[in-house]
């Protein structure tokens, strides 16, 4: 799929006395540079005015975690420790306890994710056999202390 109009396929040295002199004079380069700058001035902006305009992430973006709940409002997690094992950053800490519901044995008493250790690789979501944890599209995380960055079970359920 040869593209003959590309500059790269030609010899880029200017040929002839006139072209060489013009290049040495530097004036044509300045003019063409100014032309390009003007062109870019009227093009649509590539930047966003961030706090006012927020970028919309694609579906499937790997942001903050969420613990999912089923139709009856019970959390789906059965404390199988699979996400904790799969996590390469070792940021998940689960404490299991007996489940209050009859259809499962265990449920997490505490489920902590250290968001400062987390590398947002999505391996916990992949490893979960119950589809109980997922990564949301939230990418802004603001907190004023280190303690706030350790998300507990309530924070993760309400995400």
């Amino acid at each position: 799929m040869a593209n003959d109009d590309r500059v790269g396929s030609r010899d880029v040295e200017p040929k002839g006395f006139l072209a060489k002199t013009l290049m040495k004079l530097y004036v044509p380069s300045v003019l063409s540079g100014m032309k390009k700058t003007m062109e870019y001035m009227i093009r649509p902006k590539a930047t966003l005015q961030y706090p006012e305009v927020k970028r919309v992430t694609r579906k499937g973006y790997r942001g903050e975690h969420r613990l999912k709940q089923d139709e009856q409002g019970r959390m789906k997690c059965v404390a199988c420790f699979m996400c904790q094992t799969a996590c390469p950053a070792e940021c998940i800490e689960i404490t299991a306890g007996p489940s209050p519901w009859p259809d499962r044995d265990k449920a997490p008493v505490q489920f902590r994710i250290d968001m400062m250790k987390c590398i947002y690789c999505g391996m916990c979501e992949e490893a979960c056999p119950c589809d109980a944890i997922e990564l949301t599209e939230t990418y802004t995380q603001v907190s004023t202390s280190r303690e706030e960055k350790i998300y507990d079970i309530n924070r993760l359920l309400s995400n």
Binding site: M1, A2, N3, R6, V7, G8, S9, V12, P14, M23, K24, Y26, P28, S29, S32, G33, K36, T37, Y40, A46, T57, R58, G60, Y61, R62, M82, T85, A86, P88, A89, I119, Y120, C121, G122, M123, E126, A127, P129, D131, L135
Partner: protein, 414 residues
């Protein structure tokens, strides 16, 4: 270009007394914190006036222990480490690592997976080269070119985000496949980028090729001979800029590169200008490769049908009819002592990353975790030839030369 190979003089500090400034040699530190080092690198130079007479390099300022961390991770988990090494083209690291583990285990990926990997690999190469050229121009004073390059790179990162879910820390590949299939609008998205990328590259080229300042500061600067380049172990654009047609995609094809038509770009110069030309021409070549792959993009499964390596899909897992076996494999994949275990042995797999040969050397002792996880980062080999290139050159050419090496400090120190 008739250039003499400069000889390296021993570095010695002479005491400088007031009154004879300029007659004695002077030691100048370049870096570790310098805007033009693009990372934390340090070069100690001995100057005679403005001419560099000897140069010593010091590395290790960005040592992160990636290799050691990886020895404590399972094979699939190490992919998260790999994409933090070369932060200009993380997907190349991901693909290279997965290919190495697959070679170790004798797995052949599906055609669709190979096609996805090739497209992402070449897109990463474009992202790396386009930014590298932009930074090279920025170091020589043309700031706008870098911003145009950044706009293109943002478009590429949007594609990476749509495919992998992250812009930089992609962690996309898995042993025997990829994390997830590409989105439905992947092909139109990449095609739109190809057109825009060609246009911007042509614009950048048009601005730089006839720019006298840029040309004068590139031609004949940081020259290295073909023989020196080979003996220093240079690879990639650095070696091809010396006129050596060395490209692992052609010499040791992987992921179906043997079926694709592309030229191995070489330039005879061996200087900064030749490296710039090689990079720019490779952008077009990569875009051509992507077009070829997209024209015949295979359908079918993305992951190999090996439940002991790839976890079963969630739908199979939740299906009560055939779910139990899937569930067992799913648990076995993650449980300690039960997961994927390559047979004891070692493997080396080199891929043609944007900077040169990116090789992974893995040693397995038959457990879930690699016994040794070593990376041959091209930046390290490219950087060690830097003093040879700089000898006899003026101080201002160090900046131009360093940006042409495209050193990634994360990969250099690992």
């Amino acid at each position: 270009m008739a250039m003499q190979r400069p000889t390296r003089l021993p570095m010695e500090v002479e005491e400088q007394t007031e009154g004879d400034l300029g007659s004695k040699r002077m030691i100048v530190n370049f870096g570790p914190q310098h805007p033009a080092t693009h990372g934390t690198l340090r070069a100690i130079m001995e100057l005679e006036g403005e001419i560099i007479r000897s140069m010593d390099l010091e590395i290790g300022y960005l040592h992160s222990g990636f290799e050691k961390i990886s020895e404590h991770r399972t094979y699939n988990q190490t992919v998260t480490v790999s994409d933090r090494m070369n932060y200009l083209s993380p997907l190349c690291n991901n693909v290279g690592l997965s290919c190495a583990i697959e070679k170790m285990m004798g797995i052949t990926v599906t055609p669709r997976c190979a096609a996805i990997r090739v497209v992402l690999y070449e897109l990463s190469r474009v992202a790396d080269h386009i930014l590298s050229v932009g930074l090279q121009a920025m170091d020589l004073g043309a700031f706008s070119v870098m911003l145009w390059a950044f706009i293109e790179r943002e478009k590429l990162y949007d594609i990476f985000e749509a495919v992998t879910g992250a812009r930089l820390t992609t962690s996309y590949t898995r042993v025997g496949g990829v994390m997830r299939d590409v989105p439905a609008d992947f092909i139109p998205m990449v095609k739109a980028f190809i057109d825009a990328g060609r246009k911007t590259t042509r614009e950048m080229e048009g601005m730089l090729n006839t720019n006298r300042i840029f040309v004068d500061r590139c031609k004949g600067v940081n020259w290295i001979s073909k023989e020196d380049a080979i003996s220093y172990g240079l690879t990639g654009p650095m070696l091809r800029a010396c006129g050596v047609p060395h490209d692992l995609r052609r010499l040791q094809p992987y992921l179906g590169y043997e079926k694709l038509k592309f030229d191995v770009i070489t330039e005879p110069g061996g200087d900064v200008w030749a490296r710039y030309r090689v990079r720019v021409r490779e952008i077009y070549e990569s875009l051509d490769i992507i077009e070829q792959v997209l024209a015949d993009f295979p359908e079918g499964p993305v992951n190999v049908d090996m439940p002991e390596v790839i976890i079963p899909t969630k739908t199979a897992l939740n299906n009560p009819g055939g779910g139990m076996e899937g569930l067992i494999y799913h648990f076995k994949n993650y449980m300690f002592g039960h997961g994927m275990k390559p047979a004891a042995g070692e493997v080396y797999m080199g891929t043609e990353a944007p900077n040169g040969e990116l090789g992974y050397f893995l040693v397995s002792d038959g457990t879930q975790k690699p016994w040794r996880w070593r990376v041959r980062g091209p930046s390290f080999y490219n950087y060690q030839a830097f003093p040879q290139m700089c000898l006899g050159q003026s101080l201002s050419d160090v900046v131009s030369g360093l940006s042409s090496l495209n050193i990634i400090a994360g990969e250099l120190d690992r």
